[in-house]
């Protein structure tokens, strides 16, 4: 009988000695399935250390990554959406808003803040996909418009981080007009010669692509992001064929000339700092 033969059946560690694994200590990459500790993963800006997969993150994480010492002042943080159309689909819009605010701890799909990046002033508007698919409603448009006014007053450059499924259906034409509003305000920023950098992340589609996301003096994107106007399903229905591999990825959009650069999140702060320095008048 070999010494390795189990004499007692089953696991015999007593429950007293059992080691508990706290929730969220490990991160498993959905792309390469490799496992890393959550702390390492956060240190690497939520980018998989094996395959470079960029996990979707929100404004909290982006502010942490971009602003020096995570120090920033939030702008217009208490704007919440109205319900001008008294809209109701499977759920009343007002209920949907209240539930989402409670669930996410966010007030709407975009947060705006100013601070410094490697010592240089910057206003950052960052979208949160968790909030009704990062959809663009009145609050998103209003916060961008007011942030542009702030940039005009303080002569600070603007960075908008887009992450959105497009317009917010529940605000219908009010949502559509946010495209007009943000683009019109950006034209004022352009007239004043203040730099505007647009960062497109996964996903950026619909009305957001067809307004502020594509209007940067510099358009940069995170690797592998889905970027397009019409969603891939709609395009597929239109052409009645399967879509080519890599269609509407950041790399595809770069290849067709609509992006200046693809910047991995791990290099984002460094490159932003460099660009801001070079653009300074």
């Amino acid at each position: 009988m070999g010494w390795f033969k189990r004499l007692k059946e089953g696991i015999t560690t007593s429950t007293k000695e059992k080691k508990e694994t706290p929730e969220g200590l490990w991160y498993k990459c959905p792309s390469c399935k490799k496992i890393h500790t959550a702390a390492d993963h956060a240190n690497n800006k939520y980018v998989c250390q094996e395959c470079g997969y960029h996990e979707r993150i929100g404004s909290k994480e982006y502010f942490e990554i971009i602003f020096d010492n995570n120090q920033f002042t939030e702008l217009h943080e208490n704007l919440v959406s109205g319900d001008p159309l008294d809209f109701s689909d499977t759920k009343k819009y007002t209920d949907r808003l209240t539930d989402t605010i409670k669930k996410t701890g966010l007030k709407d799909a975009l947060r705006s803040a100013y601070g410094t990046v490697n010592g240089q002033d910057l206003v950052v508007c960052c979208m949160d996909f968790n909030f009704i698919g990062g959809s663009m409603g009145s609050v998103v448009g209003e916060k961008i418009a007011r942030s542009i006014d702030f940039c005009l007053k303080t002569k600070s450059p603007l960075l908008v981080i887009s992450k959105s499924g497009g317009a917010r259906m529940m605000e219908a034409a009010f949502s559509l007009m946010q495209m007009a509003k943000t683009s019109a305000k950006l034209s004022q920023l352009a007239q004043a010669g203040i730099p505007y950098i647009s960062l497109l992340t996964d996903p950026t589609t619909g009305g957001v692509t067809a307004s502020y996301a594509m209007l940067g003096d510099l358009n940069i994107a995170e690797p592998g992001s889905l970027i397009g106007f019409a969603g891939p399903r709609v395009v597929k229905e239109t052409i009645g064929k399967d879509l080519p591999k890599g269609f509407q990825t950041a790399e595809f959009v770069l290849e067709h000339g609509f992006l200046d650069k693809i910047v991995p999140r791990t290099e984002l702060k460094l490159q932003l700092g460099n660009l801001l320095r070079m653009l300074k008048s």
Partner: protein, 320 residues
Amino acid sequence: MTYLDFEKPIQDLEGELVKLKEVSSKSKVDLADKIKELEQHIADKTKELYENLSAWQRVQVSRHPERPYTLAYIDHVSNKTFIELHGDRTVADDKAMVGGFGELDGQTVMFIGQQKGINTKMRQIRRFGMANPEGYRKALRLMKLAEKFNKPIITFIDTPGAYPGLEAEERGQGEAIARNLLEMAQLKVPVICIIIGEGASGGALGIGIGDRVLMLENSWYSVISPENCSTILWRTWAQKEKAAEALKLTAADMSKNGLVDGVIPEPLGGAHRNHTEIFETVKQVIKKHLAELGKISPQERINQRIEKFSAMGVVHDMDA
């Protein structure tokens, strides 16, 4: 004449009228009084129906096959002086977007608009009025041309949306529309935009940033078509009536919500029943607004335009 489903009562009455006229012409019986009575009855019925159209019924009217399209308006308003100009100078000439100079009672104006096809073949060539990026870039090129020579711009909007094709994505549909929004905000010449039929989403807005944005009585304007809205929110096409209602997409609702500057009344029973009348109404409305806008300085016009769009949206400031 094509009748919409809800126009059945009118169709029946008009059928009766035709028969009555036939009888009257064949026999020697004088039916003039009867005919007159019936005509009055048809007019009353049409008025009754059209005064109480639901949102979805207005969407149907906006898509009526006999409703006039952009080029027909341009031809009339310019008294056939229109010279069409082609191409975006980069890739192609998009047949879904037309534009060019014309004279409006002696004043040179740049006309631009989406154009739907008038028959099966043309509908395909013009992609049902769904422009590619080249269309939006052609429109912008023509707007800049108008600005250079200080001519006002009139745009006619009639589109089910920007074309969602593979090449459109490759050539930057999103960028093309976005660029137009930004550039139109800063145009130094007066810009009047008129939604004559369908105004769907960014595809409509791409030529829709104006000092005056006006809607024909039976046109619609929103972020999405009622059918697609129904598919997304209720996962079925069947709720399109409900979606049309919920989107508040009619001219009356859009005007009430302050998202357009005015409504242009249509002839009784819709624009398709009397082309000449709607052309003339639109022409007079354009002239009136051009006269008003001409009195404002270019910089003031730009400021007012940007302020108007900046004020759109409903938010509550919990600090206030």
